[in-house]
Structure formats: structure tokens, C-alpha cells
């Protein structure tokens, strides 16, 4: 790709053969002796990625996908094996050599400098110069060109901090292309994107491959993988257990390979499978939507989002099943009326939201990223003041400990990374009478805290299981599990001294999690509902919205664009998502 600027251009590989070739890579990490001394994160893995192809690597959290890619990119030095690009062996453990050879990596956690503009971020480290000065205009032109070519529509002059997650993702891709990458490694690129945004990104990935670039796509989303990759490699416990042409496999087969043991496969794939007696949404990969549900959804869909209509929707959509199981919808827990609020940039992001949440129901909020969902969640948990309108809470939902909050940005708002897993597992509930001796200066009851931590770690399968490990040493998926475990389970019955959870606000609760963990988190959210909490889930993943929501609220342009019944037709939800002003941003 020729760029207006002067990025370090690698010598073009003219030879045939794979653009990226991983040869028998093995990586062994040292671990505490108590856990066996070593951890083989990557075990004798070979993988070839030809030019112009998209190869997907799938696997559960901790299967070794990220380790493999960090080896390819030189962030880790392999214990044995080699990495070849265009036939040339790379210097091991040297990202610099990997970059020079044309390998670019987009990490799951963005590596961007907030206050700098998009163009400055892209050029950082490879700045075009005019004499001794940074040639800003040239950098901006180069970014605009790349952006146009991929249809990204990003403004090179905007500060990164003010860009949406989807835009930041695009900036990361532009960044590696700007450096002349011919092999792109994308780690969970669509984890934080709305369906339309994800589709656009996959389109760009196809365009990159058509141009002759090689793409390695790490993903949990099997449908995406099958739609865009030509081959799929499956990893489990550090080993590459299978490699299939995308045309000759299915989501079911891949899921079975990922979790190991054919028997475990189908049961775990059906994420949306409802617990007995409850009607759930359709299972995402099997796509089984009850025809009756869809019909009811269509019939009762009310775009206005009025209170009366919502009631009608719940009645029509959930029918007798809803009322028959676990008590169903109870008393109102929170009520927003005409709520308006500004976002961090001072722009009005909520423009008059009416929303009531009732005990014993899950309300799933769908919408294109940046249409007010973030601000809605922050208002509900008390982190963002209302500018207008009213916000009422039931008595039970007023105690801070009675509100479970799974924040959108787990590292900024959900965790104290330098502290231990155990300390993070009690953050916010740390003053519960069962965890401190209130009679004695709130001295921490170390034994009680450790026991609670051990149970939470077990419940969400946090790995590693060492409660003393620093939170920052865990993978993103396991960090997310810490937050979910704490917010939903550090409460009665595991922590009887804390008030019962009255309100759950979960934003993207399964971002970056594998299938097994997603099913676990969904089950925990349903448990919270069945225990009588009002649950609000914000998700950019329509499968998740439809799988979880007893009621679906679609937000667009800072307003509630529609309230739909459980399991509403995907296309219908999508239409409402794009109906508001927010669609202009998408």
C-alpha cells in the first residue's frame, strides 16, 4: 500500500509461499512451584498464512491464541521454534524486526495516546518530517487516504480520547497499515463493535486480503470467522488441535473442537438456551427463533416506547411462560422520566429517556455504540448526574452495595490493576460486615475475604486461580470474570452481610470472553434476575441482546427508539437501531 507519507517501507516480498509462517513454536512460562512450576502456553504450534488470505485462530480464553500471536509479533521470545515472514526467519523476541518485516498487530486493548489526535497517534514513532519538524499535514493526509481507501471515515484531526471504541479500533488498523504492514494480526477486532460496525470491519478485512495482505484474525465469534476467513485454526490448551478450510466446517464443529470432546460441544454452543421453564432468546449459532415469538414481537413492537406500550409488549411477548417462572416481573426498582444528561465531552447524550426497570426482569439495551447507552448506564449507577428529568429508586436500590455495575471500560473503571485478584474481588463490597471487623477499626477479616475470593474464583473459573496474583497479570477475559464475579456474586448468599442485589447494570458484560465464560455470565445474570433484581444489560451484540432480554430497549440518538418483546426479530431490532439520529454517526 503506497502512502503519501514516508513510513518505513519494508522490502516487498516477491517470493511465493506463505507470507507468515510459524514453525513449531513453543512457549513455556515459569510459574509458582505450587502450580506445577511451568505453564506451557503454546505447544509446538505450526501455522502458515499465505498472502491474500485470512486465517482465523479460534479458541477459549487461555487457549494460547494471544500467546501465539505475541510470539509471531516478537513480543515474546519463543522457548523453541521460529517465525518466518516472506521466507526470511525473524530475529526472535524482537517486535522491531517483526515490524520491519511487515508484521502489524492490533491488540485487544488499544495502545493509543488519548490527548493526541488520530493522525498524531498513527504517525507516532514513524513521523513524517519537514526538516526537523513534524510534518503534521502530511501525516493527516496519509491517514485520510488510508481511511478513505478502507471506508473508515475517520477525522485525522480529532483527539483519540473523544473517538468511539469503533473508531479507535479503526485507528489501530490504520496505524499498522501506515507502517507498511503486509501481515496483519487482529486480536478480537470486533469484540467491542456493534453488528453494523463489525460487518463494516469484516468488509475491510476482506478488502485487505483482496489487496494481497495476509490477515490473522483472532476471534470468539464463529459466525464472523466463517464469513471472512478462508481457513480456521482451532487452539485448545496451547495446542493447535485442528485446521479446517472455512468452507468445509461449521460453527458447531468449531465450537466442539474448541471446548474439546464432542459431547460438550452442542450444549455449550447454545448460549441462548433458556433454563427450564423460562423462555430465552434464540441460540445465536443455531438460529432457532420460535416462529410464534417473532410474530408476537412484530405485532406488539411499539416504536414510541411509551409506558403502556411496554406493558403490553411484556404481556404479549413473554406470554404465560414469563409469568409462570420464578415469579416474573415484580415491583418497579428504578424509573427515569425525561432524563437528560451530557457525556464527558459536554454534549447532550441522553435526550429525554423514559425507562422503568422492574424486579425480576432483564432489560437488554441494543443500539449502535455511542447512542447514549453508556451514559444511561452511568446515570443508573449514580456515576453521572442528570441534567433534566427525574430518577427514582426503590428503597432497596439506594444502598451502593445493592447495585451491581459491570462497567464498559473494565481497566479504567472496574479494576485496580496493581492490586491483587483477591483485593479486586471485593472492591466496593470491601466494607461488608462479613469482611471487616466493624468493632475493631474495620480491620479486614483476612480469612473471610480469602474464602470469599476462592469461591468467586471458582464460580467464574478465573485463571490463574491464585488470589494473590496481580490483576494486571491476568488476560482481559479473566479480568472481566473478576468484575462479573464481584458485582453479581459478592452478595448474598456468598456474602450474607451485604444487602441483596436490587439492580444490575452490565455494559458489554461478555466482551472478550469465550463461549464457556459467556454462557456462565449469562447464567449469572439470569440468576440475579430470578433472585429478584432488576437487570439492565447493554450490549452491542444482537445475539446477546436477544438471548438475554425479557424486554429489548433500542436506543438511538440518545432516546429510547423502541421497546420490543423478548427474542424480537434481529432485522426489526436493527431497523430501530438505525432509525434515530445516531445512525448518522455509524
Amino acid at each position: 500500500m503506497s502512502v503519501g507519507a514516508a513510513p518505513p517501507s519494508p522490502s516487498p516480498a516477491t517470493g511465493a509461499g506463505p507470507a507468515l509462517e510459524l514453525v513449531r513454536l513453543t512457549k513455556v512460562f515459569a510459574k509458582p512451584a505450587a502450580e506445577g512450576g511451568v505453564c506451557v502456553a503454546c505447544d509446538d504450534v505450526s501455522l502458515a498464512v499465505p498472502a491474500g488470505e485470512v486465517v482465523a485462530v479460534v479458541g477459549e480464553n487461555g487457549a494460547g491464541k494471544s500467546t501465539l500471536m505475541n510470539l509471531a509479533y516478537g513480543l515474546y521470545r519463543p522457548t523453541s521454534g521460529s517465525v518466518r515472514v516472506g521466507g526470511r526467519a525473524l530475529e526472535l523476541g524482537s517486535p522491531r524486526d517483526a515490524i520491519a518485516a511487515g508484521v502489524g498487530m492490533v491488540h485487544q486493548h488499544f495502545m493509543l495516546v488519548g490527548p493526541l489526535t488520530i493522525a498524531e497517534n498513527v504517525a507516532l514513532g514513524a513521523e513524517p518530517r519537514r526538516g526537523l519538524l513534524f510534518d503534521r499535514a502530511r501525516a493527516e493526509r496519509a491517514v485520510a487516504e488510508l481511511s478513505d481507501k478502507l471506508g473508515f471515515g475517520i477525522d485525522p484531526r480529532a483527539p483519540v480520547a473523544s473517538a468511539s471504541v469503533a473508531t479507535q479500533q479503526r485507528v489501530e488498523i490504520v496505524k499498522v497499515l501506515y507502517r507498511g504492514a503486509r501481515v496483519l494480526i487482529l486480536d478480537e477486532p470486533t469484540a467491542a463493535l456493534a453488528p453494523a460496525e463489525a460487518e463494516a470491519l469484516l468488509e475491510s478485512v476482506r478488502a485487505l486480503a483482496a489487496e494481497g495482505k495476509s490477515v490473522v484474525l483472532i476471534s470468539h465469534k464463529l459466525r464472523e470467522v466463517l464469513a471472512v476467513a478462508s481457513r480456521v485454526a482451532v487452539m485448545r490448551r496451547g495446542r493447535l488441535v485442528a485446521e479446517r478450510p472455512a468452507a468445509e466446517t461449521s460453527a458447531e464443529e468449531l465450537a466442539g473442537l474448541m471446548v474439546g470432546g464432542a459431547a460438550a460441544g452442542p450444549a455449550r454452543v447454545a448460549l441462548g438456551a433458556a433454563p427450564p421453564g423460562r423462555e430465552g432468546g434464540g441460540a445465536p449459532s443455531s438460529g432457532r427463533e420460535g416462529g410464534g415469538d417473532v410474530a408476537a414481537g412484530r405485532g406488539a413492537a411499539v416504536a414510541g416506547g411509551g409506558r403502556g406500550a411496554a406493558g403490553a409488549v411484556a404481556g404479549g411477548g413473554r406470554g404465560a411462560a414469563g409469568a409462570g417462572a420464578g415469579g416474573g416481573r415484580g415491583a418497579p426498582v428504578v424509573a427515569l422520566r425525561g432524563a437528560t444528561a451530557r457525556n464527558d465531552r459536554g454534549v447532550v447524550a441522553l435526550k429525554g429517556v423514559d425507562l422503568e426497570l422492574f424486579a425480576g426482569e432483564i432489560v437488554a439495551v441494543a443500539g449502535v455504540d455511542g447512542n447514549g447507552q453508556t451514559e444511561l448506564a452511568e446515570v443508573l449507577v449514580g456515576l453521572r448526574p442528570l441534567e433534566g428529568g427525574t430518577f427514582e429508586r426503590s428503597e432497596a436500590a439506594r444502598a451502593r452495595e445493592a447495585v451491581a455495575h459491570v462497567p464498559e471500560d473494565r481497566q479504567r473503571r472496574g479494576l485496580c490493576l496493581p492490586l491483587s485478584v483477591e483485593e479486586n474481588l471485593v472492591l466496593g463490597r470491601h466494607r461488608a460486615p462479613g469482611l471487616v471487623r466493624q468493632a475493631a477499626f474495620d480491620v479486614v477479616d483476612a480469612a473471610a475475604r480469602r474464602e470469599l475470593a476462592a469461591r468467586l474464583i471458582e464460580a467464574l473459573d478465573v485463571r490463574p486461580t491464585d488470589p494473590g496474583a496481580r490483576a494486571e497479570s491476568l488476560s482481559g477475559g479473566n479480568q472481566q470474570k473478576i468484575i462479573v464475579a464481584r458485582e453479581l456474586l459478592a452478595a448474598p448468599p456468598l456474602l450474607p452481610s451485604s444487602p441483596p442485589i436490587a439492580l444490575v447494570v452490565a455494559v458489554q458484560p461478555t466482551r472478550g470472553l469465550d463461549l464457556g465464560a459467556i454462557a456462565n455470565v449469562h447464567a449469572r445474570l439470569r440468576e440475579a434476575r430470578d433472585a429478584g433484581a432488576a437487570v439492565l444489560v447493554v450490549s452491542l451484540d444482537l445475539d446477546e441482546v436477544r438471548a438475554l432480554g425479557d424486554r429489548i430497549v433500542v436506543m438511538a440518538g440518545g432516546r429510547v427508539a423502541a421497546e420490543l418483546p423478548a427474542g424480537a426479530d434481529e432485522a426489526l431490532v436493527g431497523r430501530h437501531m438505525l432509525a434515530g439520529e445516531g445512525a448518522a454517526r455509524a
Binding site: 517486535p95 472492591l427 479486614v444
Partner: protein, 366 residues
Amino acid sequence: MPEGKAGFGERLRRALAAGTALPSALAVASALALGFVVIALTGKDAAGGYARMLDGALGGPEALGETGVKAAVLACTGLSVALAFVVGLFNIGAEGQFIAGALGAAVAGASVRLPGPLHVPFALGCAAAAGALPALAATWLKAKRGVHEVISTILLNWVVIYLVHDWLVVGPLRAPSSGANVSASGTAQIFASAELPRLLEGSRLDVGLPLAVAFALLAWLLLGRTALGYELRAVGANAEAARAAGVPVARRLYLAMALSGALAGVGGALLILGTERRYPGVFRTGYGFDGIAVALVGGAHPLGVLAAAFFFGAMRAGATRLQLVGIHPSFTELIQGLAVLFVAARPLFAALAGALGRPPAGKGAP
């Protein structure tokens, strides 16, 4: 790879927070070794010098007393800086807070008549309050006006220094000179009831040392064992997450800085009530600035700070003996400086070790 987002200051803070005893001990040993080489290179008797220094610091009750008195003061100022570190603030104002506390103790000790068991606690309390004041001012400036605490605490140092040394001590608070005592300058002598009781015959060791040890233990218990200390550490680790979890972040910052300033102030009080017995006319100590070094070498851990305070106290006590073999006492400052340098360079050592083939613990730096 969350570390990629952390700035240099943040990474330094984390490296310090992660402090284990071993690297600091190695840094101190390296500093002593290199100091030895430097002294030898100047053609002096390094072995003799070190022997005298050791004697001056640890040889006998008098030497031990000197070390103990200095270590007590340094432990207070070191704990002051370390406590601010915990909530993520860099309190460079320990010197000013130390001076404010010293003056507070001198005034409380000389102006009020109280029975013995009450006078010392009263004077220490006044010193704590006087030390907390400038620290709280800096925190208020940060909370309300966004002034960085490094800037405000440095500048407030000079406000306090000029206010105390160039006005109060030579002006309103100067002791009226009596005929018998013309040469003495500074504030009035404190009453005997305000003096710190001495502990050891033939030395100046007083209750300041057990007090400082108690402060370190209390700080250790507070930070490691209580919900409040947990909240302070959470604020330092990620204030945004702490806020989201319901921790009153601003109040915790005020509390930590108030305690920080109070500890520095009490350090000043120990020196006044224990050895000086008045605020002297010429009082250039640097105990507050040394507190930063003590906190760094001590890994910002209360018990580490205590150990580092003993090292720095011993160096201060032994310094004068170096002159006996013709070595300038400022060589002890060189050694202290080297110790800080080696501690601060720990990430560098770790990176070097990583580059030499040992598998990196978490990730290689890109």
C-alpha cells in the same frame, strides 16, 4: 498488556509499590561498595574511614543513641512521603511540613504549662496539626484548582521556610535575650515537662525512636489490614475505579495528605523536643528532603521505610567520624545518593536481566 498505557511516573510508582526488601538491600550494598571504591580512588584510607563510620554509628551507647535519634526523625519524614505515595501523590513538601511541625512543637513546648504526661502529647499534637496544614493546602489546590501536588508542595516549602526562618523565629517568636544567655538565638526554651524522656544512660536516645517504630507499625497495619487502608491503596492504584466502587476519593486524598503532613510535622517535633529544646536561629536540616530518599529506598512500605531510616540515620551519625581520617563527611551523602540512584534504577536492572536471556516475567518491552 495494560502496562503499555502507564506513564513513566506511574510505572515508577508501581515499581516502588512492588518493592520487596531484597532489591533495596542490594541497592544499599552496591552504594556502600561503590562509595568505598570512590573514596579509595581519591587516595584516602577507605577501610579506615568505613571502620570509623561504623564506630560512629553503632559503636557504643552514645553512637547508637545518635543513630537512633536521627533514624526516628527520618522514619517520620520517610513515612510521610510513603503514605502520600500510597494514594498516588508525590509529597515533596515534607521539608516544609517538617519545619512547620518543629515550630509548632517549640511554641507548644514553651508557651503552655502542662503536667509532664500531658505536655509531650500536646506538643506532638500541635506539631502534627502544623505539619498537616501545608499538606492540606496543597491537596485543596489540587482538588479545587487542579494544581499538581509536586508544584504546590515544592512552592509551599519555600513559603514555610521563609515564613518561619526569616520572620517568626527572628521576629515575633524570638526569645527575649536574658543577660546570662546573650548568644542563644531562636525561640524560647521549652519547659522540662515538654522534653522527650531519655532512654539510655550516656546517650541522647529518647522515646522518639519507639514512637517512630510505633508509627511505622501503625501505618503498616492501617494500609495492610484495614478497610480504610485498602481504600487508600485502591485510590492510588486506580482512583477512577475506586470512585466507581463508592470510595470517597477526595476525602481519602485529604486524609492521606493530612496524615502525611502530620508525620513530617511530628518528625520535626521529635528533633525539637528531644535534642534542640527550642527552635534554633539556624536550623538547616534537610530531614524532610531526606524523607523522599528514605521512602524510595524503603520501597514506600512502612517497614521498609523504617529500615531505610536506620541506614540513613547511621550514615548521618557516622559522617563526622570520617573527618578523623581526612575524608570529607559529604562522602556519606554521596553514598546515600547512590543508594537512591540504584533503587530508582531497578527497572533498568530488571530490563538488563531480561535482555541477558532470562525469560521475561510478563512481557518484553516493545
